[in-house]
């Protein structure tokens, strides 16, 4: 048999990952003034991973909890570095989300790529960066060897840095640097932590490490004793006693910044506000999920005793993220900053679910429900937050302002936008029948028996979400309309397509979430079972 075909039979993920990257290479052959071809090529390149993905979805067995479609090849054998990809219930929804949001982002930015709108020449760079970002995201959600994974994790930072730096708003340079350096500091901490683990275990492999970390008696595991042994050999008493906790904190820092968890979130409003619309959509729709995914893939399996030991603090941080994020959103005047803070608050729900599961022994089904809810909430938030940023971008493009106070009464001139954005806002608000409610309900229902107090306080976030989102709705669309907006065009067919797909998905997930939940359930149940023994 043809060796290429033979290879493709074994590995679906690698082609999927690199198809956008190949598209980016092909872009090089187009002349920069040929904007039309550049757009089309970029769009189809970002759409192309759907082919392998569809095959993957078709062959995916939702009853298996282990890694599927895995492909492993030795990369740097002397350091135990493998090229290792695969998906399971924790990642497949995210892969799906990347494949949906990125093409829509490209389609959505056909007309306007960024606020300063550099000459059309910028187009080529712009789409190349988005396609590279897509490859980075696929890698980050499918790689299972730390070394391999980390390359993609950081690789997703670089195109985003340039997207912000080159195409962002007024304060883009500052935002780009703060974004890059802040998250990079987190990554460095994580690398140090993982280095320690590698030195102790000779493995970078997430799956192997998770097996080693299975708790034997509630506190100890093979992994923790290896870490303690290594720390013991260093000979510093403090290190010896707190080795596992220190490693946990280092790795935790990387993900906490990425999610972001209060109080490590301050890079986010600045970045989201200054990024171009496409950048904000990718950041909030996809990149913010990398942090939560990291918690599910790395923190929960590897550090069960540590996370249980610090559960109260962590839950406090999660609730603070929800409540303070929502309160800060209430006080914003800039639409983009408002949506950015709402994003912070909504990811707080995911963290509430994660930490509640890890905090106590409890019913496995409750925990599975909460973790399924975390994944569903990530998916739903990916749709709604990306949609919100898209709409805010459209408004900014038409009105040349992002200030809530300048707008009002737009429902009259742009009724279609009002309707579609209204659905998106209500998804974000958690209205039943739309995607947001299902995730929130599952997280709250799963977390409630585990952590009654924290869950009840977190419910305030639901109320606050209504406050700031309805304030936004009222500020943009209701009340008397200024005559200067009379000529504002409603959504074009292309814009209707982009937002229509998002809105349709919000309905589908909101009404029939069963399919998405069945994708993640087995893997999540396995994860929940670890925590039967801890705490």
């Amino acid at each position: 048999m043809n060796p290429i075909l033979e290879y493709l039979r074994n590995d679906i993920i690698t082609p999927m990952t690199f198809l956008p990257c190949i598209g980016a290479l092909l872009l090089l052959f187009l002349h920069r003034s040929d904007v039309r071809s550049i757009r089309l090529l970029a769009f189809f390149a970002s759409l192309s991973p759907l082919l392998p993905l569809m095959r993957m979805i078709q062959k995916y067995d939702s009853s298996i909890s282990s890694i599927q479609f895995s492909f492993k090849a030795a990369w740097i054998p002397s350091f135990h570095v493998d090229y290792f990809v695969g998906v399971d219930g924790l990642s497949i929804a995210m892969v799906l989300l990347v494949s949906i949001i990125t093409p829509l982002t490209i389609l959505g930015s056909f007309r306007s790529i960024g606020a300063p709108e550099p000459s059309k020449a910028g187009c080529k760079t712009f789409y190349t960066l988005i396609l590279l970002e897509q490859t980075g995201l696929y890698g980050a959600f499918t790689a299972l060897n730390f070394f391999h994974w980390f390359i993609f994790w950081e690789m997703s930072l670089v195109p985003m840095f340039f997207l912000i730096k080159l195409f962002g708003n007024e304060d883009r340079t500052h935002a780009a640097y703060q974004f890059f350096i802040y998250t990079f500091v987190g990554s460095v901490a994580m690398v140090i932590g993982m280095q320690f683990i590698y030195l102790a275990t000779d493995s970078w492999d997430f799956i192997d490490l998770a097996k080693m970390a299975l708790p034997t008696d509630g506190v100890h595991s093979v992994l923790s004793s290896k870490i303690e042994n290594l720390a013991g050999s260093i000979g510093v008493p403090f290190l010896m006693n707190h080795a596992v906790t220190l490693v946990f904190l280092l790795v935790f820092a990387g993900f906490a910044v990425k999610v972001p968890l209060w109080p490590f979130h301050t890079w986010l409003p600045v970045t989201y506000t200054q990024a171009p619309t496409a950048g904000s959509m990718l950041l909030t729709g996809l990149m913010s999920k990398m942090g939560v995914y990291g918690f599910l893939r790395v923190i929960l399996p590897l550090f069960s005793p540590s996370i249980a030991a610090h559960a109260t603090t962590l839950l406090f941080l999660a609730v603070a993220t929800i409540v303070f994020g929502a309160l800060a959103a209430m006080a914003q005047r800039d639409l983009k900053t408002l949506v950015a803070y709402s994003s912070v608050s909504h990811l707080g729900y995911c963290m509430l679910g994660v930490f509640a599961v890890a905090s106590v022994t409890g019913n496995v089904n409750d925990k599975a429900l909460a973790l399924n809810g975390v994944i569903l909430q990530m998916f739903a938030h990916g749709l709604s937050a990306a949609g919100l940023f898209y709409f805010v971008g459209l408004i900014e493009q038409r009105a040349q302002t992002r200030a809530l106070a300048d707008l009002g009464g737009l429902r009259k001139t742009v009724p279609v936008m009002c309707g579609l954005m209204g659905v998106t806002l209500f998804t974000s608000l958690g209205l039943p029948g739309l995607a947001g409610f299902v995730g929130e309900f599952m997280i709250f229902r799963g977390a409630f028996p585990l952590q009654i107090g924290f869950t009840c306080v977190a419910a305030i976030g639901i109320l606050l979400a209504a406050l700031y989102l309805l304030r936004m709705m009222k500020g943009i669309f209701f009340g008397p309309q200024d005559d200067k907006w009379n000529a504002m065009p409603d959504l074009s067919m292309r814009e209707r397509l982009v937002s229509g797909v998002l809105v349709a998905l919000m309905f589908v997930v909101g009404i029939a979430p069963g399919y998405l939940i069945s994708l993640s359930n087995s893997a999540v149940l396995e994860l929940a079972k670890i925590y039967r023994l801890v705490a």
């Binding site: 029948g433 409610f437 709250f444 409630f448 109320l463 209701f478 009340g479 309309q481 939940i517």
Partner: protein, 666 residues
């Protein structure tokens, strides 16, 4: 399973589908939109009648149709379902009938509105959600529909979104009800976690609420859950202190006020308490809370209504007050009495609101009763129907409100306990509230229909068209007839809804309460009639109550300053807190810590640069210059001139020769 139970979901789905279709219709297509929506609603109404027939024929056993929403964990399911029992059958009839009539009324009322297509879409969305609410067999599904009716209410209150007052009212309505819903949501979580299901009746027709009652949840847990769920009911049904949104909701078009904010949605809270009644009964304290909140609201809102000028606001406070009566009825243990009042109130209050809509429409959207007057001569039909609605609401003997209110008062009388006088409060409040109700309704009728026209609109008023008067006719008939379903002695409604509960005997006490309250109502109507006649009804005259008690009148007119109080406390606090958090983020977290630490890094890097320059670079430079010197020597050797190289080469050869000669001889 009978076919109607199996297809119960169709009743809710049809209006949803109609809403979906009309959502895609363009503005000019108002007639098709109305046709689709009314058609779907008619079928729903017919199906509701079938459902009622099923219940009447086959007894009171709840019949369910459950399904899995999704599966999770190890063989765990979230199950939802639909339920047909006497309560849901009754609500189905109320909701679908009033909806249908209001839809027909709207065709005339919204005749000139450019957005009428959208209006029918929203109305249909509301009807679908409300029907889903009453037939859901799961607390979760009920909550989901509950939120959807909230959404439709939000959309319809703000239907004239360009008015700032409407834009503010829609937001207020959603948020105030959501405050209650947070409690409701937590209550559901707790109930679900405690009993493992949200179904009211499982597939084997076991009542989960009854099981919960038997002790799966402790008495104190049951109390907490009941009170949390009651929070939701308070928000939706406008009970004090969450009543503030309902009067503002009158910003919506009048058919909306009739359907949503009088007859159906606001009664959802009462329905919810009725649905969860077994749980509330586990711990009597829960019902006591319901009774006292209801009684207080009933009186509180009735007093405010006395001093309002806006025809719809008077009716809105009246609605709040009547909802209070229903809650009180449920709380004092009169399960059937509370729901019976819900049933009769739905018709006569819809009648009053639609009647006021007819008046407002005729008066060119004038809503101030001081600018009306004399309409009795110009709008005969509306006057007659409105009069019937008023008599029903005031509890005039033999009208619908008479029977249902009497049931409530009788229940409240039997509520009293020997241990405390406080248990007389609901009865006393209910009685005083009834007097106030009769008074303010008489005042309103006198202002609107009697005297001379005091405004531009009222002078040119004329009777509304048949699409508006026909629904009034039907509702007026129902306002007279429905009362007889609860005729004392042979209480049909009681046998239908609560066959297992004991009705209060129709004895001497009952008769004297009935007699006494009737006298009270008649006296209140008479005094209202006397106070508001003659010169009082001329243009520019002050309200006699205002002239007599200016301070009290001002307090009532300003609704006891509750809105102002909230504005100054809760709202101000939340806004200040939000601003504080935002500033803390910007200046402390981002400013002090993040930028601060980056400053520290920057200073460190400056220091290290200095170190580099002085220490490291110093040494490095020295090394370099030494090397340069050495290179200078080397350069002398390698200067690229061949004669120079030859010279050196020959020198080397000579040297080698000498060495060879010297060492070679050894």
């Amino acid at each position: 399973m009978p076919w109607i139970v199996q297809y119960l979901w169709l009743i809710a789905l049809l209006p949803f589908a109609a809403a979906l279709i009309t959502a895609f219709l363009k503005r000019p297509l108002r007639t098709p939109a109305a046709a689709i929506v009314i058609g779907a609603m008619s079928i729903s109404f017919l199906l509701s009648l079938c459902a009622l027939a099923q219940v009447l024929k086959h007894g009171h056993e709840p019949q369910t149709c459950n399904f899995n929403w999704f599966h999770y964990g190890e063989n765990a399911f979230v199950r939802l379902g639909f339920l047909l029992d006497p309560l849901s059958a009754m609500m189905l009839i109320v909701v679908s009938l009033v909806s249908l009539l209001v839809f027909i009324f709207s065709v005339g009322y919204m005749d000139h509105d450019e957005n009428a297509t959208r209006f029918f879409c929203f109305l249909s969305l509301f009807a679908g959600s409300m029907l889903a609410l009453v037939i859901s067999n799961s607390l979760l599904l009920l909550f989901m529909s509950w939120e959807l009716v909230g959404l439709s209410s939000y959309l319809l209150i703000g239907f004239w979104y360009h008015k700032p007052s409407a834009a503010a009212a829609m937001k207020k309505a959603f948020i105030v009800t959501r405050i209650g819903d947070i409690g409701f949501f937590i209550g559901i979580l707790w109930f679900y976690a405690g009993t493992g299901t949200t179904l009211f009746y499982t597939d084997d027709h076991q009542g989960s609420l009854e099981i919960a009652r038997l002790g799966m949840l402790g008495a104190s847990t049951a109390l907490s859950i009941s009170l949390l769920i009651f929070c939701g009911a308070m928000g939706k049904s406008g009970q004090f202190p969450l009543h503030v949104w309902l009067p503002d909701a009158m910003e919506g078009p009048t058919p909306v006020s009739a359907l949503i904010h009088a007859a159906t949605m606001v009664a959802a809270g009462v329905f919810l308490v009725g649905r969860m009644y077994p749980l509330f009964m586990v711990n009597e304290s829960a019902l006591h809370v319901v009774a006292f909140v209801g009684a207080f609201t009933a009186l509180f809102a009735a007093t405010i209504a006395v001093a309002q000028w806006d025809i719809k606001r008077i009716l809105a406070y009246s609605t709040v007050s009547q909802l209070g009566y229903m809650m009180m009825g449920l709380g004092v243990g009169g399960y059937v009495a509370g729901l019976f009042h819900l049933f009769t109130h739905a018709f006569f209050k819809a009648l009053l609101f639609l009647g006021s809509g007819s008046i407002i429409h005729a008066c060119h959207h004038e809503q101030d009763i001081r600018k009306m007057g004399g309409l009795q001569a110009k709008m005969h039909l509306t006057f007659v129907f409105y009069g019937i609605g008023t008599l029903a609401l005031t509890g005039f003997p033999l009208f619908a409100g008479f029977f249902s209110k009497d049931d409530l008062l009788l229940g409240a009388w039997h509520f009293h306990r020997t241990e405390s006088w406080a248990f007389y409060i609901p009865f006393v409040f209910g009685l005083i509230g009834a007097a106030f109700t009769a008074f303010y309704m008489t005042r309103q009728v006198k202002y609107v229909f009697f005297g001379k026209a005091r405004g531009e609109g009222a002078e040119h008023a004329h009777e509304s068209g048949p699409s508006m008067t026909f629904p009034l006719l039907v509702l007026a008939a129902l306002s007279v007839l429905t009362g007889f379903l609860g005729f004392p002695g042979h209480h049909f409604f009681h046998h239908f809804l609560g066959p297992n509960t004991e009705a209060h005997a129709f004895d001497g006490t009952a008769l004297s309460i009935m007699f006494g309250s009737s006298i009270l109502v008649l006296v209140a109507i008479y005094s209202g009639w006397k106070v508001y006649s003659g010169r009082v009804l001329e243009a520019g005259a002050t309200d006699p109550l205002e002239a007599r008690f200016p301070n009290a009148f001002r307090i009532l007119q300003n609704k006891y300053y509750v809105d102002e109080f909230y504005e100054a406390t809760v709202v101000a606090f939340t806004n200040a807190f939000a601003r504080g958090v935002s500033l803390f983020d910007r200046y402390v977290l981002n400013g002090l810590f993040v930028l601060g630490s980056s400053m520290v890094v920057y200073v460190l890097s400056l220091v290290s640069q200095l170190m580099d320059d002085m220490a490291i670079n110093g040494g490095f430079d020295k090394g370099c210059s030494t090397m340069r010197k050495a290179a200078g020597w080397n350069r002398w050797i390698q200067n690229g001139l061949s004669q120079h190289y030859l010279k050196l080469t020959s020198l080397g050869i000579i040297l080698l020769f000498i060495l060879a000669l010297y060492f070679g001889n050894r």
